[in-house]
Each structure stands twice: as structure tokens, then as C-alpha cells.
Symmetry: C2
Subunit: 350 residues, 2 copies
DNA sequence: CCTCCGTGCGACAACGTTGTCGTCGTGGGT
DNA sequence: ACCCACGACGACAACGTTGTCGCACGGAGG
């Protein structure tokens, strides 16, 4: 835990908030009467209510929901969202969809980015639970999540999105990664490509592994042996990527097409290709803005992050409404969007 | 408030969480001893501590931070972030930066999108305050925010980003919108353009108004009268945009260059231009991914959303640390990034 | 006149935790 | 043998709120 110990040189007497007691005293009424007014309960004369309300405005009183929740033992009306990085367009779209649903249910949203670091994810998740969120929507790292089991049995709803949650049996929303990647690869094969490279994220990430598998399956089904230099997996590092691409695109038998395992990789590859002479065909997994406006519009296997987020959030609230069925898995279909880059044919046939 | 009244047909006895009392009973110790163990306070023998810890693990006990905070009257270690739309890249980058700083201070982040709707913003802000967030980072709508004054005096720190907060004197982080837009316009003027169109967001949005003013200033300084059909302000609506562009680009005296007031407008314009024959020069306000990889790379006036977010969050924590100086305004500079589209010369001179 | 009831309101406990303070037992010093 | 200090622990109040209950008052009905 990153030292919340702000060694406070000198904290200037944090101004205190008025409580119901203060309001009651100022209005010359009992505490409970204020409570009644604040909550719109009956049993208060309009005269008294008016007086109390004016004092409330004058003092700027706001009910302390923490205390309220403690007393009522009710739900907190808040949901935690844990993902890899809010700034990634895939997650930011997912995030918006989740937020929309959460808001529609009158709840508030806590957001945290794990940066793919399981310790950080854990810290955030437990922090959310300590705040007693009603539920958790998680894009889990590959680490074991059994530490969340007590929360689950304690009634905290949980849904996993984009990846399964290892070690915990919860509702899960996934894209059809394997099929999608296979579709992308097949599409390239159909254009006559035989030597197709694959660039993806680190293979400990579920989606990366699934998509790689999809690629391999499609290649195998087409009778195309995959040579190892054609596959590059890892966190998108510009330098590594440059080497990998050089490896794939040069030599006696260069690849004529590329399948990119995700958003960031696709963009990084495009940027790298801009500085090279080769113009391999390219299909990207996951759509991105402006893909259609590039010099060669980019063919993608599009996911639907908004639908995934919405579905996940709705599953969560279904649980919160009391649904007790066994954990289910929802697979959201991907869709091939041909735009040009994936329809380039291999040089020999050009 | 959107009916948090889930008419619960039948709520299946929400499983209860173990409390310290339960742990104490199960471990055969006093309540306070459990508290001591949980908080790592001294005065517990290692034997007892071990026993308590094992019971804690067995029951899956987690301290209830709500109760803790209530008791301690301390800060909640949470910060609210209110912006227009998490899915907008500008805000999602800002958001990440804020989150980073918040995390570094050991706090949690509540996020809410106002969708530019002041009622929704208010609802979210008050919801955050009811949860007793320590501070609020807000991208405010243009509505009056005086309703937050009680929170401010009650000690909730507040910082306004991207726009000033009307009706409330708080630290504010802004981009130099006016200068930036003027720079963009001047850049086009320098290429020989005299008829330059401006497309921006609704003028009740501070940044939109400022940037429009910057454009007008630059035009005036160059002695170029702005004709009204050249200016189109409003929420980005594809159809409106099409009409506006048609108006600007056709007729006897069409504009030869465009200045776009923001991210979304720039992209929408690019998309629209892709279907037209005219190729006006173009400068966009706010950078966006892939701007450099388009057929004609797009010249932009780049903002630094991450710096803005970081600055805002740091100002917030400075206040929380007790800083009491008068509210300050930080202006983050923009930077012209020439990439091609803004260096196109007018047809006459081409 | 008294009774009965409804209305308006306040006292009090409780939610789960922590700060304060008191108690108990042990061990060392005299 | 006695005292005191000290370590280990628990009882209790309090944080701000709400649910329960009871009380006082006034008017209607006998």
C-alpha cells in the first residue's frame, strides 16, 4: 500500500461539516425530525419542515451517506470497475457503457486501472471492497483471484469482462477471440497469402493467447505451417516490434500479410510500416477510430466494447437483484470489417 | 434521482459480512484486540495475533472502511472525477493522469460522466459529496456551480480542469485556448489562406467560445473579415456538419482552409471531406491518435491532456495537504504540430 | 367530564469501528 | 514478602444516521 501516511506537517483544522444534530439544535427541533425532513418522511408539520429546510440550506448540511449506510446495513449504491488502462480506447468505450448502466441503476462508479499488474489490481479490488461496493466489474489480470472469494460469498456481486477470472466462478463476458482471430487469418488466406505473421500481446494475457490459438488453427486448417519467426508476442515495445517486423518482412521467405492481435499493436505496426517499403496485407483485431480514413483503410476484426461493458454491467445488476443461477458465460461476437488493407493480395499475384 | 427503488420482488437474504465482533467471538478474544490486530497496533501477543489472523482468514473478514471513517472522522481517501465523457480520448487521457496521481496518494477514484448535462453533473457531484469524497476534480458544464459552495467551505477540495467553474472560486487548469486557436489560424493565414472556415462545438462551452475568439482575433489581426457562413458552432451532428461544410466549400468564394475546434469535430470533418472533392487545408485543435498516419497527415494545435490532469490532481492534493493560498489558475500551453494538412496552400497559388 | 385516537415529535439504541481508560496478572526490585 | 511497573487485553463511548417506541397535545365522541 503506497503510504497513505501523508506526514502532515500541520493540518489546518479541517472545517467540520454540520450534522443533523447541528441542524436540529439550530432549528430548535429534535434530531429525528431533521432526519424525517431530509428523507421526506411523513409526520412533520409543514411549518416545522420549512424551518428545518431553511436551516439546512443556511448551514449547507448534507447527509453523510457513510453513516446512513452503516445504520441501514443496506447496499452502498456503488460499483467498482477494474480495468487495465482507461486511456485505451477499447477500455474507455467499455468503461462508458458500464458507467451508463450503473448510472441508470442509480449507483456510482469507482474506477481503477491495474496497468496489468496483479498486485495493483488486488490492492484496488480490496480497496473497493473495503468501501463496500455492491459489485465489481473486472477485466482481470492472469493472476489467481481466489482472494476475492470471501467478498463473493459475502454478497459482493462480481462480473468478469474481456477475460475469465482465474480461480473464481463468476459471470463472464468474452469476445469470441479465437474464432475472430481465425476469421481474420482465414480472410488473409483467402486472398492467397500463405505466409502470414502474427503480432500479439504477451501470451499470459488470455485474449492474446486465444487469438494466437485462433490464428494457428486457421493456418493449420489451411495447411500452412507457421514458422516461428512469424510470431511475435509481447508488450508493445517499439524497438522489439521493429525487430520482429524486420525479421518477418525480410529474408528469402518474408511474410506477405500480418495479423495484429490488438489495438495498440495494430497502430504500432502501422506506424512502423510507414517507415518501411514493404506493404504487407494487414488485418487488425479490434477496431479503432480512423481505421477507415488511413491511406490504406485497415481491415479489422471488430469487437463491440460497448456491448461487452453493457452486458457485464447488466449481469452484475441481475445478480444484485437476487439472481442466483450458476455463473454464466456470454460470448460477444466479433465481426470482420473489410476496408482494404486485408484485401491486398500477395506480391506474386499482384 | 433515477429511482434507486428496485422494487425487490424477493431479495434472497443478502449474506452478511463478518464483523470484528464475529471475529472476536470466534477467536475468543475481545473486540478491541481484533481491531488492534487488523490495524497492526502493538499490545497484542504474537500468539493471540496469530490466532486472530487465522480466524480472520477463515471467516473472510474485511474491515468496514465506512464505519472506520465514521469513527475517525478522517478523510475518506477518495476523490471524485467529473467529466463530459470518459470515452473521448481527450478526457480518457486526462482521466488516466488524474487516476495516477490519486493512486500515488493512496486514494480511490470515483468517476462520472456528465454528458454535458448540468443536472446530471450536479446529481453526480452531490452524490460524490454525500459519499464524502475528499476532493473533486471537475470538467464543469457552463451552469452555475454555486450549489457546491457548502461543500467547498466544508473542506471538500475542488479543482476545475479544462474550463473554469462558474460561480465558484477554485483552482483551475486551462489550456491556452484562445492563443492556441489564434496560432492555428495564423498558421493557415501564413500559408496564404484568406478565407478560413471555423467549425467548433456549441458556444456555451467555454473552450469552444475561447477558441472561436482566438480564431476571430487572428483573422482580424490579419485584416481578414470573417463572413458568417464560415463559422459553424454546435454539437457535432453529421448532417449539420455536412450542410455547414457544403456552405463553406461551395459558392463563388469558398473557404480554402478549415480550423476545427476540437477532436471530434476534426474527425467528423475528415470523414466528411473523404466524400468530397475539395481538399481544403486543415488544422485541428487537440491532437488525436493516427493524425500522422492519414493520407494527408493532419496538422494540429496539440493540447496536453495528461499534463492538465496531473496538474489538476496535484493542485487538489496540495489543497488537501492544507494549502490555503487564494485559488490559482494554471494555463497549460498548446503546441502547433505541423504535419501537412495545415501547410497546404490555397488553390490559386498551388 | 372523561376517554380514545391521531398527529407531531423526541429519546434511545444500534450499525461497525476506534480512542480512552481501566483491569488483571506477572515479574523484577527492594 | 510487598510494591510497582508493565504488558496484554477488554469495557465503553462515540462517530452520524435511522428504526422503534413512547409521550404530549388537541379534538371528537361518549
Amino acid at each position: 500500500m503506497p503510504a497513505s501516511t501523508d506526514r502532515p506537517g500541520f493540518r489546518p483544522a479541517p472545517p467540520v461539516r454540520p450534522t443533523m444534530k447541528d441542524v436540529a439544535a439550530a432549528a430548535g427541533v429534535g434530531l429525528k425530525t431533521v432526519s424525517r425532513v431530509v428523507n421526506g418522511e411523513p409526520g412533520v408539520s409543514e411549518d416545522t419542515a420549512r424551518r428545518v429546510r431553511s436551516v439546512i440550506d443556511a448551514l449547507g448540511f448534507r447527509r453523510n451517506d457513510g453513516a446512513r449506510l452503516l445504520r441501514q446495513g443496506a447496499r452502498t449504491g456503488s460499483v467498482g470497475l477494474l480495468l487495465e488502462d482507461v486511456a485505451d480506447p477499447f477500455y474507455s468505450q467499455l468503461s462508458r457503457a458500464v458507467e451508463e448502466v450503473v448510472r441508470a441503476h442509480g449507483s456510482l462508479l469507482l474506477t481503477g486501472s491495474s496497468a496489468e499488474d496483479s498486485a495493483r489490481e488486488r490492492e484496488l479490488a480490496l480497496g473497493f471492497c473495503a468501501r463496500r461496493v455492491d459489485g465489481l466489474v473486472v477485466v482481470p489480470t492472469s493472476a489467481d483471484h481466489a482472494y476475492l472469494a470471501p467478498e463473493l460469498t459475502a454478497g459482493t456481486a462480481m462480473v468478469s469482462v474481456d477475460r475469465p477470472m482465474p480461480g473464481l466462478d463468476v459471470d463472464t463476458v468474452l469476445a469470441d477471440n479465437r474464432t475472430g482471430a481465425a476469421t481474420g487469418a482465414s480472410h488473409l488466406l483467402r486472398q492467397g497469402h500463405r505466409r502470414i505473421g502474427y503480432l500479439g500481446d504477451a501470451p499470459d494475457i488470455y485474449t492474446a493467447a486465444e487469438r494466437l490459438a485462433g490464428y494457428r488453427e486457421a493456418m493449420a486448417a489451411a495447411g500452412c505451417p507457421v514458422e516461428e519467426p512469424w510470431v511475435a508476442m509481447g508488450r508493445p515495445d517499439p524497438l522489439e516490434l521493429r525487430f520482429a517486423l524486420a525479421r518477418m518482412l525480410t529474408g528469402p521467405e518474408p511474410v506477405t500479410a500480418l495479423l495484429c492481435g490488438n489495438n495498440r499493436t495494430t497502430v504500432a505496426v502501422l506506424r512502423e510500416l510507414a517507415g518501411r517499403v514493404e506493404r504487407p496485407a494487414l488485418v487488425g483485431f479490434d477496431d479503432f477510430e480512423l481505421a477507415d480514413l488511413l491511406a490504406v483503410p485497415v481491415t479489422v476484426v471488430a469487437q463491440d466494447p460497448a456491448l461487452m461493458g453493457r452486458t457485464a454491467a447488466e449481469l452484475l445488476f441481475r445478480r444484485l437483484r437476487g439472481e442466483t443461477a450458476a455463473a454464466q458465460q456470454v460470448v460477444v461476437r466479433t465481426r470482420l470489417v473489410p476496408r482494404g488493407s486485408g484485401e491486398l493480395t500477395p506480391p506474386a499475384t499482384r
